[in-house]
Every structure is written in structure tokens, then in C-alpha cells.
Amino acid sequence: MLLKSKQSYDLTEAAVTDEAVFYNRRRLLQQMGFLGAGSLLASSASAGLLDFFSSGDKPAGPQFQQAPLTSIRSPYSTAETMTAESKATGHNNFYEFGLGKDDPKANAQGFKVNPWQLTVSGAVNKPLQLDYDALFAPELEERIYRLRCVEAWSMVIPWVGYPLATLLRQAEPTSAARYVAFQTLHDPAQMPGQGNRFLGGGIRYPYIEGLRLDEAMHPLTFLAVGVYGKTLPPQNGAPVRLVVPWKYGFKSIKSIVGIKLVEREPATTWNISAPNEYGFYANVNPQVDHPRWSQASERRITRGGLGSDERIPTQMFNGYGEAVADLYAGMNLRKYF
């Protein structure tokens, strides 16, 4: 069954039909073996120094191979219109592979995800070492989540994976564990942005992120190993990434090699880079603007060209307030932004 169970979210008849048709067709194409065909056809264009003179199209090299994944449906999915796969996999902030939104897709196709080593360490009774295959061992669910970028655009993306809590419970956090620190792979040979500040934007690498333990254990906090029914492509954070749907996208760290349970609030990359603009919590909050732009609304990217996406009001906690607001009871969210 492909249709998601209905939630208390607004949805129009058209949106559901659209999604169902789109989704069935996706699955069909996938079953027929047309994997990746759509992304091969999608052309790219960026605005760079030389774009005024050149087309900005990049040559299509060998494509990264994604494998199909089977998963069960999740009651946590939204029924809103999904973003087209070509957009969600062609428009990424992953500075390790370049600053432009289409750079990650263009530059990451040769990225090696197998072998992989993910360690869960620190204040735990049973430290874990997961290899590539172990990442896919827990039962996989599909969760269609809203993703709200701090840059005021958003998408609706079907992730495949499992709650982070599944992994953390296996490791058995000790009573000393109060926060969880995450780290992206550091490999400048494969991730050109890490070795070159012009490509990587001059932020400090490896990328690090963090959550409070109760946030990390929350059932909505998800470890994704796939998207659109397939293993993750490198530009979306292969082979394993975090997805925290009520926080701005930059919290959802990609290509994770380290998860460490710690006592103190860990440092986080964007907070180090610009502490007045990006806080540790980074909860989606329409009332607290970014110093340089409003967060009250967002442009929802679904599919189609210029003029096809709508500007919609941003919801508190990205619409997941019912499930997560309790985590922040009594906290001043303007101070802890």
C-alpha cells in the first residue's frame, strides 16, 4: 500500500490525488528499472561569477547508484503535496561539495559510501560500530516530513529510515548522557569543500551538530538511510543522515560518521560560524526572524518552473508543535533560538 494514513493536517482532494498518482508512478518507474533516469535528465543552472557568459550546465559524469528500499508506512507522515524528487535531490545545501545549490549533485556523484563506519560512543554502556550493511538493519519506515530551510524555503520529502532512538537505545546511554553530538565524515579528498575555503564557504569542517538527549530520543527524530524509496544519493547525505523535522534544515546533519553521547551542550557548525544568526536549538519559529530576513512565511517548493511555488505561513515548530512543544515548556524561545 502506498497511500499514507490521513493526519490532522489540511489537505485538499487535489493534493492527495496528485501525490498518489505521482507516487505510484514513481514506484512503477522504479520497478521497471528506470532508477535515476529523471535525475539524469534534469539540467542544472547556477548563478556564479561566470554565469553571465556561460550556460552554467555541468557535464553529467557517472551517476551514483541508488538501490531500492522496502519500508513500512508511518503514521507520522504528512499528506501534503510532495516535492518532486528531481528538486529534492537537485537543490541542496551541502557545502562539503560546493556552495551553489546544484553543486552537491554535480560534485558528489563519485562519493564512496561503502565501506562506511558509524560509531556511537561516549556516555553509553554499549558503544556501537556500524558498517554499511548494519545501517540498514533496523526495520525501515517511510516518513513524509516537511523540511523547512533556515533560508525560508521548504519541501515535503519522503525519507526512509528509523527513529534515532532505536540506535541510541541499543547503545544504552548512561545517566551522564545529556546531549548528543554528531559529526560528518571528514575526507577532503572526496569532499572538496572541506579542503578549499572558496569551495566550502570557509566554515569549519568537519560539520558538527547536536541535540539535547530528550530531543534525540523523541519519536519524530529520524535517522534516514533513504529517500523516495531508494538509498540516499550523496547530495542528500548518503549513506546516513539525521532528519529533525521541527528544526531548521541545517540541524539535520548529513553523511554521519560519529554520534557521541555527552554531558555538555556540544558546539555546532553554524553557531560557530555566526552565533548571532544560528542558535543551538534552531527550532522553526515564525515569530523569531533571522537577522537578515523574515521567518514568518516560506516558499514551498513542490514542482514546476517559475511561479509554481506558493508562499505559505510558517508554522510554529514547522507544524509539529503538538508533538514537540512540551520539550521546550517554560523556555524563552527568543533567547534560545
Binding site: 543552472a45 553571465f52 528531481s86 546544484d102 572558496f198 511561479g307
Partner: protein, 207 residues
């Protein structure tokens, strides 16, 4: 083909150059809209077209500023006749940039537009630059040039202020790495340096 040693631009050369400028500027502008509407501008065509027209306007602004020093350096007096055209295309790209922002990004959400145009420093700076470009574009109509006389030169020297504002707008708009805007700023400063004492002109209101 033998190349004559000193070739002075003829009126025909100026005409050809103008046609070339029309062709290139229109081609790239129409092309980016075509790509945008047909969903060939990547994942987020809105941001892509805002960036393209913004960078395009700045490139044209710098080209406009390069005309005078180039014509002097190459002893091609007639070259300055393409300056007005380049300036007007700069304005066209800047206007498209603003329209893209209001139409596709903010989608005529007026309260939001009012907030962004007044409260966001980088947008305010961009707006100031745009107002200057607008004034320059309007007053480049020949009868107005004549009517303004000496004051025309003064008004049009405000292009120096506009280009600095655009560099600031660009620098402020990026999230992390400011290398690209710094390269633009360096080119701008070189072009302004060729003006020497004229740089004081914007502040010398004639009696």
C-alpha cells in the same frame, strides 16, 4: 587579413557594437526566463533567477563604468557612445531583479514586502542603489540631458555611489563566503580609481 596599425572606430563600428550589446543582453535575459518557466533552472528557479539578474545587473554596471577609462586608454573616443546603452541594460536587469523578488519570491505579499524593504539592511541598500539607477535611467532621455545641463553630470556621477551600494548589498546578502563579492569590490575600486578627482563630484552641488 592584414590588420591596420591604428584603426579608429567608425560610426558603423559603433552601430555594430550596439547591435551586439542588444543581442547579448536580450538573449541572456530572455533565455533565463525561458529556462525558468520551463523548469530548467535547477531545484529552485526563483533564487536562480534572482541571482542571475542581480549578478547580470552588476556586471553591466561595471561594464558601463569601464567604458570611459577604456575609451581614453585606447584613444577610441566614439566608444563612449555605447555607455548609455550599457547603463540602460544595467537598469533593465536591476528592474528584472527587483520584479523577480517581488513576484516570485515575496509573491506580492504586501505586508512582507513592506517589512523586507524597510527592515532588512541588505535590501534597503539594494533599494537605494535601485533608486539611483532609476533616476539615471529616466534622466538619460536626450531632452532631459539637455535640460539638465551641468546638473546632469553631477546627477550621473551618482553611479559611483550606486556601485558601492551594490557591492555592499551583494556582500551582505551572502551566507558564508564573501570571496566573490570581494572580487567585485576590488574591480569596482580599480574602476573608481581611474576617476581621480571626479569622485568628489556627487557631493559638489552646483550653485
Amino acid at each position: 587579413m592584414p590588420v591596420p596599425k591604428t584603426r579608429v572606430m567608425s560610426d558603423r563600428h559603433v552601430l555594430l557594437l550596439k547591435l551586439l550589446i542588444h543581442g547579448l543582453c536580450l538573449f541572456f535575459l530572455l533565455r533565463v526566463y525561458y529556462l525558468g518557466f520551463s523548469d530548467q533552472l535547477g531545484g529552485d528557479p526563483v533564487k536562480a533567477i534572482i541571482h542571475f539578474t542581480g549578478i547580470g545587473a552588476l556586471n553591466l554596471l561595471l561594464l558601463t563604468l569601464a567604458v570611459t577609462p577604456l575609451s581614453r586608454w585606447s584613444h577610441q573616443g566614439r566608444l563612449v557612445r555605447v555607455r548609455r546603452l550599457l547603463g540602460l541594460y544595467c537598469f533593465t536587469y536591476a528592474a528584472a531583479h527587483l520584479v523577480n523578488f517581488l513576484t516570485f519570491d515575496l509573491q506580492f505579499n504586501w505586508p512582507l514586502i513592506a517589512e523586507e524593504l524597510t527592515e532588512r539592511p541588505y535590501i534597503v541598500v539594494g533599494l537605494c542603489a535601485f533608486i539611483i539607477l532609476l533616476l539615471l535611467a529616466i534622466t538619460s532621455i536626450p531632452p532631459l540631458v539637455r535640460a539638465l545641463g551641468r546638473r546632469w553630470k553631477l546627477l550621473h556621477s551618482w553611479i559611483y555611489i550606486a556601485v558601492l551600494l551594490v557591492c555592499l548589498h551583494f556582500t551582505w546578502s551572502v551566507k558564508a563566503d564573501i570571496t566573490e563579492p570581494m572580487i567585485y569590490l576590488a574591480i569596482t575600486l580599480v574602476l573608481l580609481a581611474t576617476r581621480g578627482r571626479q569622485l568628489r563630484r556627487p557631493f559638489s552641488w552646483p550653485g
